[in-house]
Symmetry: C3
Subunit: 349 residues, 3 copies
């Protein structure tokens, strides 16, 4: 077989290393297209001059562009036969990535658990993204429900990784820079780390409608080959009758919307978790709100602090009333994302 049929659940082995195909050089072109797809306005990623004032050599690429690119590489090996992407954990951004960097990705299988129906199992992988110098730029865990090729296939005993519920503040890699030198007029907000309170909820107000051409261009940009996003011939006969939008597209849309209220959350430094609660389809309008889960100082740094943020996205439902799961942990049908991350904000000089 010269074509890739992807791995099925029984193909994975604990400790297995998967070196993923197609390294990719990200360029200024990717930064442009990312802006055009999401309308992100964070000043650090938007302007060389702003970044240089903080001590960066130039504007780094958006953290989520790096994430999606590394993620995309893993799809042909990890999730081509996936039923669902179940979660993320222990995501850390370890080095700013600039235009010109070639990214590659390697995953290790760190957990396997067959489901009781014996038709599927859950695969846990830790994926690491590297630049062309071999430096690690990103590390994260995800788990995904994968079909078995053969229901009858025997598999090993369940092994579940022990995962942190959140990256501890002490483990955050914050880019070497002087965030306190930020220009509040340029960044779009005077609100610094000090101004946010634990528990605070922020409605990001704006809504963004998604088109088929947009999410497919984005997902191809990341060289993510998951079939459900691209093939209306097949999906039209499937469960939803529609192409399903890549969950990462939702994260990027919600993050871009969060500028309105979190303009100084300049860098994402960790992903603590994330769930794609309901599917998104073309024609839907995405809204978002955030909640401050925690605040932390950054070790050795007086120029910036970290906020642990929960970013909730909805479809076709404004977020002034902060739509959330109910007492039983059940989400309303119009909530599509519950994402937990650490961001870095300037402190007052």
């Amino acid at each position: 077989m010269k074509t890739n049929e992807g791995n099925f659940f029984e193909d994975f082995r604990l400790g297995q290393k998967l070196v993923h195909a197609t390294p990719r050089t990200l360029t200024a072109g990717d930064a442009t297209l990312y802006t055009a797809l999401y309308g992100s306005r964070f000043a650090l990623q938007s302007a060389d001059a702003f970044a240089q004032a903080l001590g960066f050599p130039r504007a780094p690429l958006d953290d989520l562009l790096v994430f999606h690119t590394v993620f995309g590489k893993t799809v042909p090996d990890i999730s081509l036969n996936a039923v669902a992407n179940l979660g993320y954990a222990e995501g850390r951004f370890l080095k700013p990535v600039y235009a010109g960097t070639t990214l590659s990705a390697v995953s290790e299988v760190i957990g396997l658990k067959e489901n009781s129906n014996r038709k599927t199992g859950v695969v846990y992988v830790r994926t690491e993204g590297f630049d062309e110098a071999g430096d690690k730029v990103l590390s994260y865990v995800r788990w995904v429900m994968v079909n078995k090729r053969d229901e009858a296939a025997e598999v090993g005993e369940a092994e579940m990784p022990k995962l942190m519920s959140a990256v501890p503040a002490s483990a955050l890699h914050v880019p070497a820079a002087d965030f306190a030198r930020f220009d509040a007029a340029a960044s779009g907000s005077i609100h610094t780390w000090e101004d946010y309170e634990k528990g605070e909820k922020i409605d990001h107000v704006d809504g963004m409608t998604v088109e088929e051409a947009e999410h497919m261009m984005a997902t191809r940009l990341y060289q993510n080959t998951a079939k459900v996003h691209f093939n209306q011939y097949t999906e039209g006969k499937g469960r939803f009758g529609r192409r399903l939008i890549y969950g990462g597209h939702v994260i990027s849309l919600a993050r871009a919307l969060s500028f309105n209220g979190l303009a100084n959350a300049l860098s994402i430094v960790a992903i603590n978790g994330g769930r794609h609660v309901n599917p998104l389809f073309a024609g839907d309008t995405v809204f978002a709100w955030s909640q401050v889960l925690d605040k932390a100082q950054v070790e050795g740094r007086k120029d910036c602090g970290a906020l642990r943020l929960r970013l909730i996205a909805t479809k076709n439902r404004p977020c002034f009333d902060h739509p959330d799961k109910d007492g039983d942990g059940k989400y309303p049908a119009d909530v599509i994302l519950d994402f937990d991350y650490w961001a870095v904000l300037p402190r007052r000089a």
Copy 2:
């Protein structure tokens, strides 16, 4: 409030300076996407080799890409609560902009006039765009009808700026270059400044249909946050039931179409005025025609001359009969743009 609700009419003060957020570094990626969105074929912006033959260091970015980028920055402060964008005046391009330039924008309120219904008022601003060296690259005036937050709010007396009906030819900044060295085969036309007559009308023949994904990608590329372009959930309940296409998208489409008849109108050097006469929606097909309003020599230059051009765009109506306003100054419903600008063309060597 950490989210931006924008300024309402009573928030503006005469002489007020607004430093706009999110400086943006334009790159080769922006030039590419601009080409893909409009299909512009002007040789000066398309090819380094063509530009260098004229004495430019390399191909400058499209003048309208610069305009839209600067304009986009002003939206969160000036027109988030706008009812209508009423006009432009005194627009001058002052310095060619190349890939790698970081643009920022500052506006000054130069006029304020409450409407008699007391619900809205007209705000006049002069906006200036700067590069990272602080050099001014663009200056223009626009006026916009803005809602009042509170109808009862008292506002000052009307102050209206005195605006020129057109930028005088003597005030045009024409890039230092030798346009006479242009290659007519490469530019696509042998017609130079001498060949155009005052009053001449040119049908640009071709039509271009617009899709939702295209105008939204363009408008996000400019980081223009006006809600009416993006949010079908809200707009679907609104006046048109549709997302409204950014007026600047129409200007760029019409300018790209104008290549067919004005291939040597290589640079836009001034915007004398412009009105978005009727709205454009996805699915509509844009056509355009031009009229030569004036011809002028450029001071100290024998290599080029200036044409003052009126660019009229229509929707779903070819322009062989030059659709125009009637004797009462009323436009047909299918005319969408009436734009008045100065362009520079080569003279015969």
Copy 3:
């Protein structure tokens, strides 16, 4: 007339040279957008680091991006009044093209044959693409059926060029590199030139649905001005009632799909022929399969070999059964492309 009405059949003369307008500098932005439009994953064009390991200075631009750009330049002079694009032959890629290169194009009329109805004729041109140093990067022949302006116009005797049915392996220009140094994990396949057999058929499995915004953005990126792709107002009244998708868009989609089974077909070095058998429209899903027509060693090279491949694309029909023309040479209605090219693959070290 300042607008271009294009050439009609009686305007062409044997031996006539047409220097095409609008040279274009391709950049990293074009490479990005190409990836976003097609999702191509060939490692050589995707990553500088992969290309450098083989001895390239950096990742070359996709061969088909170069082809479409050169092709696009010829449209205003050759095929603005075309009824149909009939075929390609003798296409050879002569020099890798990198971001920063300015491409221009020149065509020579090498054949003319009026049709018996006297309303149309077939024009054969050899088109050559050049970089800014004047080096030839691409040469190919295409023929196209063009309307006559005036049925009664007298034209010369038919002259038909003698065209090769395929570029001989000895005439292939293969980039100077050491393909044997390729990294199979990075390229996505362990299968080298040795592993493919003459006659072998490969179903590329995946399908890709096309949207209006995508094919129009692609076709404008190539500055291809053929009206049928862009103008729904006119096309809505025409034969198909729809915008017709540029045939080159289909070639690029099928080539990108062919990664799944031909991941190491790293460079296209020749186009032997190609027919757009049926039209493609937005909303259709493209599938593809390939057949190995021939295998050839590359003169003086032990690091790589050439495969002559037939790439067949369909719409709304998976290719597990290799849909093909019947015994009478008639294609099923869902086959849209039959393309014949030479690709270079690594040999085992």
